[in-house]
């Protein structure tokens, strides 16, 4: 098992928002409730879950693009959350992010070449001439012609923009990349091009990834380990083939069974999926999944299940696996 490069412990972020009309009240959105996971060197760790479960908040908090409320993030032995400005500057070079829509993060009036050179100049890693050369290499590396440097973001298709977003994340030679839905919204043929590119870069640069996606197929292809999130919490963690072959948490199973596969001979069992994802403002008592869970027991309504470690890499938060309550026998 490779050494850890990133260790997240009890990371928490609640948003205070004013909501309601005509009498707005402050409500607390529990976007992230004490999640913990470890990313190992040179591997990709997948975060999967439905809209609003806190995936992006997790990615942003661990990079301190937004400040978490509490918890700890240790990157290659260095505590991130209380790092001073100089340490943080050095850390930023080594930890980068790729967004779902790089267009929104690219300045529309800036040519691609300038956008890619900027971080190099800001971090004093190159002079202008060196930066120009490095930009050409970066573009080549992500499969873009060098002429792209002279053009503007709007001149590119979705897939090309994602290549540019990836080039920008690579500019400073990072060790870890947080990829937040990097292929969502792309057509299948473009999606596979970007996935292959990311995989090649992962291998050639020995990159580690926190890879966020709502698509189980993409997670299974790209990642080695994964965590399933539900309403701000991690409900299951494990190595990739294991979680897919034998999901432990009832929500993981629901998610897997609801994901359509391109095979008409294996139609999924749809009828059993109850209800919708509740609001992160008022998560259900006890296990947040209990209103939708086919195995819910009385205790599930009362107590949030504690974390049960199955082995060094596998764990689940579900009373069915906590010896004190359910024993270990979830009916499939």
């Amino acid at each position: 098992m490779p050494d850890p490069i990133l260790q997240i412990t009890d990371l928490k972020k609640h948003f205070h928002v004013r909501r309601g009309f005509p009498n707005p009240k402050t409500v607390i959105v529990r976007a992230l409730d004490e999640i913990s996971f470890t990313v190992r060197k040179g591997t990709a760790f997948g975060l999967v879950g439905e809209s609003g479960c806190g995936k992006s908040t997790a990615g942003r908090c661990l990079l301190r693009l937004i400040e978490p409320d509490s918890g700890s993030v240790v990157f290659d032995g260095v505590p991130v959350l209380n790092a001073d400005t100089t340490t943080m500057r050095a850390l930023r070079r080594r930890m980068q992010i790729v967004f779902q829509d790089p267009y929104s993060s690219l300045n529309p009036r800036k040519r691609i070449g300038a956008a890619l050179a900027e971080p190099l100049l800001v971090h004093g890693m190159a002079n202008r001439a060196e930066a120009r050369e490095r930009v050409r290499d970066l573009l080549a590396e992500v499969g873009m012609p060098k002429e792209a440097a002279d053009r503007f973001p709007h001149e590119f298709s979705g897939g090309q923009r994602q290549r540019i977003g990836i080039a920008r994340a690579l500019a400073l030679g990072p060790d870890l990349v947080v990829a937040d839905e990097p292929v969502s919204g792309l057509d299948v043929s473009i999606q596979s091009q970007i996935l292959l590119l990311l995989k090649r870069l992962k291998d050639t640069h020995h990159l580690s990834f926190v890879f966020i996606s709502h698509d189980l197929g993409v997670i299974r292809y790209f990642c080695q380990e994964m965590a399933v999130m539900y309403l701000g919490r991690i409900v299951e963690i494990g190595p990739i083939p294991d979680v897919f072959e034998e999901p432990l948490h009832p929500y993981t199973r629901t998610l897997r069974d609801a994901s359509p596969v391109p095979d008409p001979t294996s139609k999924s069992i749809f009828t059993k999926i109850e209800g919708e994802v509740p609001s992160a403002v008022k998560p259900p008592s006890g296990c947040h999944f209990h209103p939708r869970c086919p195995h819910a027991m009385p205790v599930c309504r009362e107590v949030y299940p504690r974390w049960t470690a199955i082995d060094a890499r596998r764990g689940v938060a579900c009373h069915l696996f906590d010896d004190e309550h359910g024993g270990r026998d979830p009916a499939p």
Binding site: S189, Y221, E276
Partner: protein, 346 residues
């Protein structure tokens, strides 16, 4: 494809018969086809999936059938679009309005843009009924409530006077389906109705559509770019590329023997959640824009099986010798007397 009489009425087993549909747009002073010579027949009670990547003409095919292509920008031509003994390609606007309310309904991807934010859900569904069915206010409300129950809006009665923003995305999509079903259409055109939804909610909506189809017997054209959803729902599948149908077959046949090189490549490019994908296939390049369509096969520059002939001559959608209900638009695959079987990730 079974041959149909070239003229006259659609044979009774067809709910809809589209022949030679071409829809063009005026771009920079010239007309360019976005849908070209599309023909298919929808059987009664059948679910036909139109599948393909962004911009391949799925929505415009549906909009053309509905007579909803904006007249200032687009031009629709068809040999015939036969529905219930009428040729919609030649129908008046008044007639089309009647068909849209009563015969063919459509559900769109983004429910928020088709719901009026300042009117209650109950009012909007009732209005559709009053307008098309001439029901009294009270009868329309009663029927609307019944339909909202039918699409499984939990406690529909107490939510009847809620506004769209008080509903989740999945619930809004149920409302859209309720409105589409309000007048008991013969055909439902569903344009990516689940694309914006989470998978567990998508699963619920697909199950709902399946159930409603069983109950009402309506036929459905389901538009999607997701081949997983196609496998779940469709009876027959038409794969579109660059405005054309490149392959059409029964769903089991299509997935067992994807024959057009594009279909084959697409299936191998999907990372799957049900098995390990050691090697993900990828299709180089991208779809040409409608303003720069090459002659001959539109897929040729991305195709691994290209022959010289492919880029020179236009292909026909031709049935396979061994499976006449399976048609493919490809020189190579329809000419090979002994088509090599394509194995997708055995």
């Amino acid at each position: 494809m079974a041959r149909r009489p070239a003229n006259g009425q659609a044979p009774a087993q067809f709910a809809l018969d589209v022949r030679g549909l071409t829809t063009s747009f005026y771009v920079g002073g010239k007309w360019f086809p976005a849908v070209r010579d599309v023909s298919f027949a929808l059987k009664r009670h059948e679910t036909l999936a139109l599948v393909g990547e962004s911009g391949c003409g799925k929505s415009m095919t549906a909009m053309s059938i509905m007579g909803l292509v904006p007249k200032d920008a687009g031009r629709v031509k068809a040999e015939a679009i036969l529905f219930e003994g009428q040729d919609l390609a030649r129908a008046s606007e008044a007639k089309m309005r009647e068909v849209r309310g009563d015969g063919i309904s459509m559900v769109f991807q983004e429910p928020m843009t088709s719901l009026n934010p300042v009117l209650t859900i109950g009012f909007q569904v009732s209005e559709a009924l009053r307008h098309h069915r001439g029901l009294s206010r009270r009868d329309a409300a009663a029927r609307a409530l019944h339909i909202l129950d039918q699409v499984k809006i939990p406690s529909a009665k107490s939510r009847f006077n809620d506004y769209p923003h008080q509903f989740s995305g999945g619930m809004r999509q149920r409302v859209m389906i309720a409105m589409a079903l309000a007048c008991q259409p013969k055909i439902l055109l569903a344009d990516e109705p689940t694309t914006a939804l989470d998978v567990t909610i998508q699963a619920q909506i697909l199950e709902l559509l399946r159930e409603l189809k069983r109950e009402t017997g309506m036929a459905m054209i389901f538009i999607t770019h997701n081949l997983g959803v196609v496998a779940e729902l469709a009876d027959r599948v038409a794969v579109m590329y660059a405005g054309q149908i490149v392959e059409i077959a029964e769903v089991a046949e299509l997935f067992a023997r994807p024959t057009h090189p594009y279909t084959e490549a697409l299936l191998r490019s999907i990372p799957r959640s049900d098995r390990d994908t050691a090697e993900l296939y990828t299709i180089p390049g991208q779809v040409p824009p409608i303003t720069r369509m090459p002659p001959g096969c539109k897929f040729a520059d991305r195709c691994a099986y290209r022959l010289d002939r492919c880029q020179a001559e236009e292909q026909q959608l031709a049935p396979l010798a061994k499976a006449p209900a399976h048609a493919v638009r490809c020189w190579r695959r329809t000419e090979e007397t002994q088509p090599e079987m394509v194995v997708v990730d055995a």
